[in-house]
Structures are given as C-alpha cells and as structure tokens.
Symmetry: C2
Subunit: 210 residues, 2 copies
DNA sequence: AGCAAAGTTAAACAAACGTTTAATTTAAAC
DNA sequence: GTTTAAATTAAACGTTTGTTTAACTTTGCT
C-alpha cells in the first residue's frame, strides 16, 4: 500500500486515459509527459519504466477492486435475488466509473504473451467469480434458484456485456430518447439501461420468474 | 472484390495472427515479414503501408461477414425461436472460427480516435442488429415473444459474451471436465458450452419459458 | 549557513520503427 | 532472343521510440 504524490497521480491519470484511448504501444512516454505536464525523465524516475507504469496502474486499480469485493462479501441480510441485483448494480457502477481502466483491461486480456499484468487480470476475474458462485449455490440448495445454471458463463456474460457497452456508448447515444441530455444524464441513462437488461436476464435464468 | 496471390495471403494471415496476439502497434512490419518469410519491402509494395494492411484485413473479413449476414436472411421457414437459436449457433461458429480477427475487432473498437476501421466495425454491428431486430419484432407482434425486451442490449450481450469467451479459453480449460481433450475436442466443448448458455438466456428472456 | 538527498531539467543515447530507394532477378510478351 | 513489366532484394532513409546521463535546482535537516 503505497502513496503517490500529486505529480505521480497526474502521470498515472494521464497514462491511464491515453493507454485506454490509444493502447499501450500506441502511446509514447512523450505523449504522457506532455499531457501530464512533466519532464519525460520523471516517468522513469518515478516508475522505473513504461511497462512498470502500466503495472502500477493495474496494482493501483486492483487494490481498489479487492476492497470492492470485500465490501460485497459483507451483505448477508438480503434475499439471494436481491444480492444478485445489488451485485449487478455495483459491478455496473464500478466498471462504468473506471471506464479508462476497463478499456485497458479489455485490451490487455487479449495479449497472448504471459505477463504480470495478464496474471493479475485472471486472478481478479477468479475472485469475482468466487463472489457470485456461493450466492448461487446457496440459493440453489435452498431451492430458490434453478439448478441448471452455468455460473461461470453467467459471469462471462456480465463482464462481456458491460465491456461491450463501454465502447458502444457512441452508438447508444443515437438510439437514446430524443430528450436533451448532458453527460451526467446520459451516463445515468446507460447505467439504468444496462442494469435493467442484466437484472431481467439474471432473474429469468436463475428463478424462472419475471 | 479483389483476389490475392499466395504471398499476399501469407502476409495477411500472419499479420492477422500477430495483430491479434500483440496488438497493431505491438507488432512490427519486420515481425510480420519474418514470420511470413517475405522481404520487408513487400508489405509496402503490396499493401501500401502498415495501416492499409490492417484495413485490408478488415475489408477481407468484413466482406465474408456480409455474405454471412445475407445467408442468414434467407431462412424463412423456421419458427422464431428456432431462428434465434440458429442465429446464435451461427454467430458462435463464425466468431470462434475467426478468433484472431475477433481479437483485432475487440481491440480496435476501443480506439477513441476515428478511423476507417472503426467505422467499419460499427457499420457491421448495425447490420447484425438489423438481422435480429425484425425476427424479434415479428414474433412479438405474433404474440410469441415477450414485448418488454431490449434487443439492442441483447445483441450487446451476445457479442460481449462471445468476445469475453475468446480470451477466457485458457481459464475454461481448467474448469473443463477431466476427460483428455485435443484442441478440436476442446473447441467443440467451448462452442457447446457457450451455445447452451446463450440459448437458455435468450429463450428465457424472449419467451418466458424454459 | 551548509550539507545531503530528492526533484527536475535539457540533451544525448542506442535501438527500433515504417518506409523508400536503387539494383537485381524473374516472368511474360512479342 | 530481345524487350518490358513485375517481383524481389539488401541497404539506407529519417523519425520516433524508451531510457539514461549529467548538470542543475529545490527541499529538508542540523
């Protein structure tokens, strides 16, 4: 658990945005330095290398994700379906709230070559699966959820849908209702739409009710 | 509709694999030339530039996708749900059959900067949506499908799930049944698993039956 | 004030990048 | 067999890449 100076945070923030928008190899350290308004040498000075800068971004975000997971583990008073719905909403909020990082994840998980970053990704995904699995299993044993469900694939659908929505937002704007929207309103509109869709999907497949 | 020589096809094939595995900017023309066993200059000679090489790959694959779409449009004798199921299976087959290209699409659709390639992607996605939309609408009007369904989001789920499965295959191998599998058997196993999952999901949400 | 460490800078580094050149070989046409 | 165009090559092109250097400034401590 390290702390970062303002300047370091500025670099991390700019780098995250540029890596998301143009890819890791599509972004030069000079681009980052210029937009963050620091000297090029500071990136190596602070983070060691461009690779380690990416790794730092990952560890930074993943630490937050771990906390996020642990918080979710504490909700014990809810009904199974309420738990699932809460989980869906929290996932949507989390992932759409850090879209730049999610873009980087989308990209990096495609790399065929093994790397520390790729390992971190699948480690985290495993933990997320471990979050939903027991809820479903428990509800299945209690006879509340239907037995014949592939939870791993359901998690894949959850991730996949949200990851697909992130770059699709340009398009969703066109099919949105004609009412004028500022950025915040549109963000809420998207969240609501994904949330409604995923909750319906999960409820239907898990409980066979509507 | 152009034709390509063997050497050109060799370059396209190698480039597609490398772009998928390491990203566009992560792959050098020297890498491509070496693996395709041609001189570096041939790439500029044939395709003009590295950018146009990527664009060529896209146009090549997209032409096939267009044909694919037109074939799907001709199935008129089936029941609505059969049509959907057939569509799901064909999508899975298509996309898992060209995984390298789908990886490139996954990456390129994240680019924030406008480009010919990005336009092509969303154009194609629109066409795919236009493929499912009328089937659903027609069945809704006939009272066979439930009214309250967000087809655009459903299509997002379809794409998202499959796009998420492609890089997740390493992991799926671990949770696969212990029976020994060669590559072809595993590929079939994955297809079957995704297919079963998606069909259940679509049937539940569209018909409210199981 | 004086000193040591940390922070910051412009400049330079070698390596890798995409692309082009000019020379040579191959193939096809007459 | 000669000619013309296409294919292929090794080498060089000028940039850009990530990283390092060495000089300089700021900061914090005694």
């Amino acid at each position: 658990m390290e702390e970062y100076s303002e300047k370091q945070l500025a670099i991390l923030k700019v780098a995250e945005r540029l890596f998301a928008d143009q890819g890791f190899h599509g972004t030069s350290v000079r681009d980052i330095a210029q937009e963050a308004d620091v000297n090029i040498a500071m990136i190596s000075y602070y983070f060691g290398s461009k690779d380690k800068l990416l790794e730092t971004i990952f560890r930074y975000r993943m630490e937050a994700s771990r906390k996020f997971i642990n918080e979710l583990l504490e909700n014990n008073t809810m009904e199974p379906l309420e738990k699932i719905n809460s989980l869906i909403d929290r996932f949507i909020n989390k992932m759409l709230g850090e879209q730049y990082f999610q873009c980087i994840m989308s990209r990096e998980q495609l790399n065929s070559q093994a790397s520390p970053v790729r390992d971190l990704i699948w480690e985290l995904k495993g933990e997320m699966l471990g979050l939903m699995q027991p809820i479903v299993t428990q509800a299945q044993e209690a006879g509340i959820f239907y037995k014949d469900v592939d939870v791993e694939m359901l998690m894949t659908t959850l991730f996949g849908t949200i990851h697909q929505v992130i770059p699709a937002q340009h398009i969703l704007k066109k099919s949105a209702p004609a009412t004028v929207m500022n950025d915040d309103e549109f963000r809420e509109y998207v969240k609501k739409r994904v949330s409604t869709h995923l909750k319906k999907l999960f409820k239907a497949i898990l409980t066979h009710e509507f």
